[in-house]
């Protein structure tokens, strides 16, 4: 530190000799100031119009200026006591950090990214998917076994809102003409079904299954199994009336998509549950933060699948009044989803 003060000189001299004081921190500031101000200008422009609006050479300068601002901050913390300077540098570094490490993708790219990320996340959670599927299968078997033996169970197992008047008293003809091959209700109702998908039973179940993962997963499994029970009960009802094949076709045309989506929601909930129960080396919060994105990707993808299912259900199901065709469409959707979820990786590698 070069202080050219005459030490021991205590007499004040308002005029005349003036000792010159040079502070290292002031020198430091003088030499670096230009860079800081340039950086500040670039950030302000990026904040206003987005980082893509910067000219190429400005874009190339940005990381250099950012690193030098960070190093200035570190030096200033060690040598400077100018509080305003420290606060300014801290603020400048933070703003530059945010400008540089913010996502550079637009909405379209993010959408494409998601299209690839969703299958990858699902594949990573394949064991969770399997568990979710097993819970559902157990539910179907239980529901079927109970109801096929005694149709009184149907009313117990299926909530009235979902049964929609169907039950032990329904005749074969009523089911065949009023449900499976019911006439197309018209465009307005179809649009209504599609538009209302967010608040449909299945979406709510899917969201609940995902969110209840926070309650370490047991409610998720119960919920998924219960959906299986409901399906099993319906299956038994139609089985008893010799409508098994027609019913399966009627369900499958949208159910392949819909049930897969619900199972994926369950799997996402199980991922969350696993990361809470077994955080590995991380704290539970950190574990959730690192893997929560994967779970959220699965759940979001599943909700989009539910939207597709709603289109199939609202638009196509009653229009296609033929069991073989329904099976064909169901098979096509099933193969489509499997190919997408299983093979998207190949496309990812090609890039």
């Amino acid at each position: 530190m070069s202080i050219e003060v005459e030490i021991g000189h205590e007499v004040s001299r308002p005029t005349g000799l003036r000792p010159v004081i040079t502070l290292k921190s002031s020198e430091f500031r003088r030499t670096r100031e230009q860079g800081w101000l340039e950086l500040e200008g670039l950030i302000a422009a990026a904040e206003r119009r987005g980082i893509r609006a910067l000219a190429p050479d400005a874009l190339a300068r940005l990381p250099q200026l950012y690193r030098s601002a960070l190093s200035s901050l570190s030096v200033a913390r060690a040598i400077a006591l100018d509080r305003q300077l420290l606060l300014y540098l801290e603020n400048l570094s933070l703003r530059a950090y945010l400008a540089i490490y913010s996502p550079r993708t637009g909405l379209g790219e993010a959408g494409l990214h998601f299209l690839r990320a969703f299958p990858a996340a699902v594949r990573q959670a394949r064991w969770h998917c399997l568990i979710s599927f097993l819970a559902f299968a157990v539910g179907v078997i239980a529901g079927f076994a109970l109801t096929a033996g005694d149709e009184g169970w149907f009313a117990t197992l299926v909530p009235a809102g979902l049964a929609g008047g169907r039950g032990a008293a329904s005749s074969r003809e009523a089911l065949l003409n009023g449900e499976i091959f019911a006439p197309w209700p018209g465009a307005a109702v179809s649009i209504g079904i599609v538009a209302n998908f967010l608040f449909s039973h299945n979406t709510i179940v899917g969201i609940l299954a995902f969110s209840l993962g926070l309650a370490v997963g047991v409610p998720t499994l119960v919920l998924i199994a219960y959906q299986g029970v409901i399906l099993g009960a319906f299956l038994a009802l139609h089985y008893d009336r010799g409508l098994t094949v027609d019913f399966v076709a009627w369900i499958a045309i949208h159910g392949v998509t819909e049930i897969s989506a619900i199972l994926l929601c369950g799997a996402a909930g199980l991922v969350v549950a696993q990361k809470i129960l077994f955080p590995d080396r991380y704290s539970r919060m950190d574990s959730l933060a690192t893997h929560g994105r994967q779970a959220a990707e699965i759940a979001v993808g599943a909700i989009l699948m539910l939207f597709v299912a709603a289109i199939l259900e609202g638009g196509l199901r009653q229009l296609v009044a033929s069991t073989p065709w329904r099976f064909a469409i169901a098979a096509a959707t099933g193969i489509g989803w499997l190919a997408y979820l299983g093979l998207m990786r190949a496309a990812e590698r090609e890039r």
């Binding site: 040598i79 913010s102 637009g106 608040f199 959220a296």
Partner: protein
């Protein structure tokens, strides 16, 4: 933490909670968490913008087509439009404008990675879509389910309201003020006031010469409080306060020469310069003095 903290309790009153993040370059930075009120205002602004856009889109839709739609279907269509528009709005702006929607930008808050890493697109998508689960879908259910007479529906209401309450309460129950979407995405919302570089207060040409024995009385905290006072005085505040402070400093450091009232500001500035030079030199030699009490201990 940095030495900026020394005078903080006096000068900034510390009304914002602060956290430290570490940038990918390994430099710790102090961030200030956004207040609940700021986030609420930002959300309100965004919601107003979103609602206007949805209604405009619905008006266009009504103008062009579909006369045969019943009221219920219309509401459902509106909900669907609103759903897509809302998510595209939030995700688009947080992606392309450094983690700030228009509402956040107006209020001056940002979304950032909780641990100082890069903010990823997947995190932005996750935190925004989780908002659907937290608030909008339950709220939509509350609106769209008709208030029925059956007791089952009442229970449904209780469930949905409980759901909403739980998620809002979550924000108040963790120290980083994260909502569920932030927890899952690993993000937090910070306030980002903009600071400007003010002039250095150091006077290169001193009129008053201070010896080391004059400068041992104070530490960094007093220096920075004095800095704050001088900056306020530059802005025309508190002239009589300067005189008072000047007298106190003279008494404390044992300055016996009279200081003319006209020279008060000059004296304080010179003292600031000399004091800062002294303290910075001492800090460089590993003898940092945080405040006057530490300075007194070091003098003994």
């Amino acid at each position: 933490m940095s030495s900026t903290d020394v005078a903080d309790r006096i000068l900034r009153r510390g009304w914002r909670a602060r956290r430290e993040i570490i940038t990918p370059e390994g430099v710790p930075l102090v961030v200030e968490l956004a207040e609940y009120s700021e986030r609420a205002i930002a959300l309100a602004i965004d919601l107003v913008l979103w609602l206007c856009a949805s209604l405009a889109l619905l008006a266009v839709l009504l103008f062009f087509a579909v006369h045969g739609m019943s009221g219920v279907v219309l509401i459902a269509v509106l909900m669907l439009i609103a759903f897509f528009l809302r998510n595209l709005y939030f995700i688009h702006f947080e992606l392309s404008h450094h983690g700030a929607t228009p509402g956040k930008r107006i209020v001056g808050i940002r979304v950032t990675d909780r641990r100082g890493g890069p903010l990823k697109a997947s995190a932005v998508i996750a935190r925004n879509l989780t908002r659907e689960l937290e608030v909008f879908i339950p709220a939509g259910i509350l609106i769209s389910v008709p208030a029925g007479s059956a007791s089952g529906i009442q229970w449904g209401y209780v469930l949905v309201v409980g759901w909403l309450v739980c998620f809002v309460a979550l924000m108040f129950m963790n120290r980083d003020r994260m909502r569920a979407g932030d927890v899952i995405a690993g993000t937090m919302v910070i306030a980002l006031p903009r600071r400007h570089l003010l002039a250095d207060l150091v006077e290169a040409r001193a009129h008053f010469a201070f010896a080391d024995r004059h400068l041992r009385a104070y530490g960094t905290r007093e220096l920075q409080v004095l800095e704050d006072l001088l900056r306020r005085a530059d802005a025309g505040e508190a002239p009589e306060l300067l005189r008072d402070v000047c007298d106190r400093i003279c008494r404390k450091i044992g300055w016996t020469q009279p200081v003319a009232p006209a020279d008060t500001a000059l004296f304080l500035r010179d003292f600031y310069t000399a004091q800062r030079a002294f303290l910075e030199r001492e800090q460089l030699f590993g003898r940092a003095r945080a405040d006057k009490f530490e300075a007194a201990r070091k003098r003994e």
